[in-house]
Amino acid sequence: MIKDNFTIKKIQEGLKCKDFSAVELAKKYLKVIEEKDKDIHAFLEVSENMALKQAQEVDEKIAKQEKLTLLAGVPCSVKDAIMVEGLKCTAGSKMLKNYKAVYSATSVKKIVEQGALILGKTNLDEFAMGSSTEHSAFGPTKNPWDLTRVPGGTSGGSVASVSAGENIFSLGSDTGGSIRQPASFCGVVGLKPTYGAVSRYGLIAHGSSLEQIGAIANNVEDCQTVFNTIKGKDEKDATSVALSFPTTNLPTGRQVAGRTTNYKIGIPREYFGEGLDEEVKESVLKAVKGLEEQGCQVKEVSLPHAVYALACYYIISTSEASANLARYDGVRYGHRAKSQKQKANSLLEDYIADRSEGFGSEVKRRIILGTFCLSSGYYDAYYQKAQKVRELIKQDFALAFEKVDLLITPTSPFCAFKLGEKLDDPLQMYLADIYTVSINLAGLPALSMPCGLNKEKLPIGLQIIGPHFTENKIFDLAKKTEITLEK
C-alpha cells in the first residue's frame, strides 16, 4: 500500500521492502495530479511517459538488486524555466509556447541520474517575473490552502504542486525570492542556494547575477537531499563553484553556565518594522523564542541598508533582464507574429512584431525599465548607483555575520493574498519580495520554512539566512526549528 505524507526516506524504505514499485508510485502521483490539478493548475505539462519510463528503469535496477540511488523512485516536477530534454520549456510565456528543449539543465540531469521521476513542468510568472504566478501566459496557479488566493511566485506551480501532494519535491529558481516567497505562502520548505552553489546551465536566464536553481520540498530533510544532489561545479556554468560544504563546523552544543548553547541567531531589526503583518511577526518571533529555549543565543542586529534593497534589486534585475531577453526575436525559435510578418519589410520590423506579440505586459514593463536604466545618460544615475548600493547591502550582511552565525527574518511581510488583488499595481506586487531580494543581491543562501498559520489558516514563512556556502548550517538550524515547532 502507498501511504500519504511520503518523504524521500519513506519512499526508499518502501521500495527496498517491496511495499510498492516505482511504477506504482509514479501512477499514484499521476492520479493525484489528474484529480487535483484541475483546481490548482500547478502543471503546464504532465510528462506521464517520461515518468513511467524512468520508474521502470528504477524497478529494473531494484530487480537486479542494485544499490538505490539518492532519489530513486521519487516523484518530482521541474519549473518550466528549467529545461528537460524532450519536453516543452515555455517560461510561462507565449514567446516560448511551442519551444521544445533540446538539452537538459545540469540540475535536471543530476536528479535524473539519481533516479528521480519527472512528472511534469510547473507554472510560473512569465520569464520568472512576478510575485504571484498570475503573470503566467497560461493562467494563474491557485494556492492549495485557499483556491481564491495566489500561491506566490514566481515558482508558484512548483510550490503548489509540492504543497498539494502532487509530488515530493520540485526544482524552482529564485532571482529575488521566487522559491522562498511562494514556499512561505504555501507552507513548504524552499532553499535558495548560495550564488554559484548550483549550476544555472539550462535555466532560462532572467537576472544572471542574482538567480539560482533550488529545491522545494515538504520538509527540511528532503530539501537538503535534493540540494545535495544538484549542488557542485559544472563546467557549463562558469559562475558555479567547486567547494565542499563543511559539515564539521556545526555547533556541538557546548555547556555554558549549565545550559547548552549552540547557534548565535541574529534578528535584523529592519525586517520587523513597518509594513510587517502583526501575525507574521508574532509567529516568527515565537519560533525564535523556541530556539532560544533550546539553547540558541538570540541577538538583535542591524542591516542599515536593507531599506534600499528593493529599489536596488528592481534596477539591477530589470537591467539584466532587458539584456537577457534581447535574444528572443522569433527567428531561430519562439513566437512568430504571423499576421504582421507579411507587412514587415525588414528583419528589424519582424523582430519588433514577434517581441511585441510574444511578451506579456509585466515582461515588457521590465524590459523597458531595464533598457531605461542602462540607456545613455541614465546608466550612472541608476545602474551604476544600484551596483554601489548593492555593495553596501553585502557589507551589512558581512558585518552581521561577524557577530552571529545565522539570521532569522520573516520570508514575506504578509500571507498569501487574493488572486487579482495586486495585479494592476506593479509596485505593490514588488513589495511582496521586500525581505527576500537582498539575499540575492548579496549572493547568500537562504531557506524559507513554515512556522505556523494565521487566523485565516494561511501558512506563515520564516527565513533563515547564512553566510556564503553555509547551507548545512541553515539546514541544521531549520531541522531544530522544525522540532521546536512540533512541540
Binding site: K100, Y308, G330, V331, D350, G443
Partner: protein, 96 residues
C-alpha cells in the same frame, strides 16, 4: 519625470511596440517605479566601488571542441526555425 517621448524612445531601443494606450500606462508605471527607486539617492555611496555580483575572479575555460548531437536533436533544432531553406535558417535581407 519621464515623458511620453522618453517611453517611445526606450520602447524603440528595446525593440518593442506599444499602443498609445499601453504607452500611457507604461509612462505611469515607470514614473511610479522610478520615483520609488529615487530612494537610492539617500544612500551614501561615496566610499564604495560598484559591485557586480560574484566574488569569483577566476576565469573558467573549457576546450572549444565540436560535440556531436543526435539526428533527433538536430531535427528538433531545425524544426523550430521560423523559416528555412533546406537546413539553412532563412531571414529577410539585412543589407539593402
Amino acid at each position: 519625470m519621464i515623458s511620453k517621448e522618453d517611453v517611445k524612445k526606450i520602447t524603440d531601443l528595446a525593440r518593442l511596440r506599444l499602443s498609445e494606450e499601453e504607452i500611457a500606462k507604461m509612462q505611469k508605471d515607470l514614473a511610479e517605479i522610478l520615483e520609488y527607486t529615487n530612494l537610492l539617492n539617500k544612500a551614501d555611496v561615496s566610499l564604495v566601488k560598484a559591485s557586480f555580483g560574484s566574488k569569483n575572479k577566476e576565469n573558467f575555460l573549457r576546450p572549444d571542441k565540436v560535440q556531436s548531437i543526435s539526428e533527433g536533436t538536430r531535427q528538433d533544432i531545425l524544426g523550430q526555425f521560423s523559416e528555412k531553406q533546406g537546413d539553412y535558417l532563412k531571414v529577410k535581407k539585412i543589407l539593402t
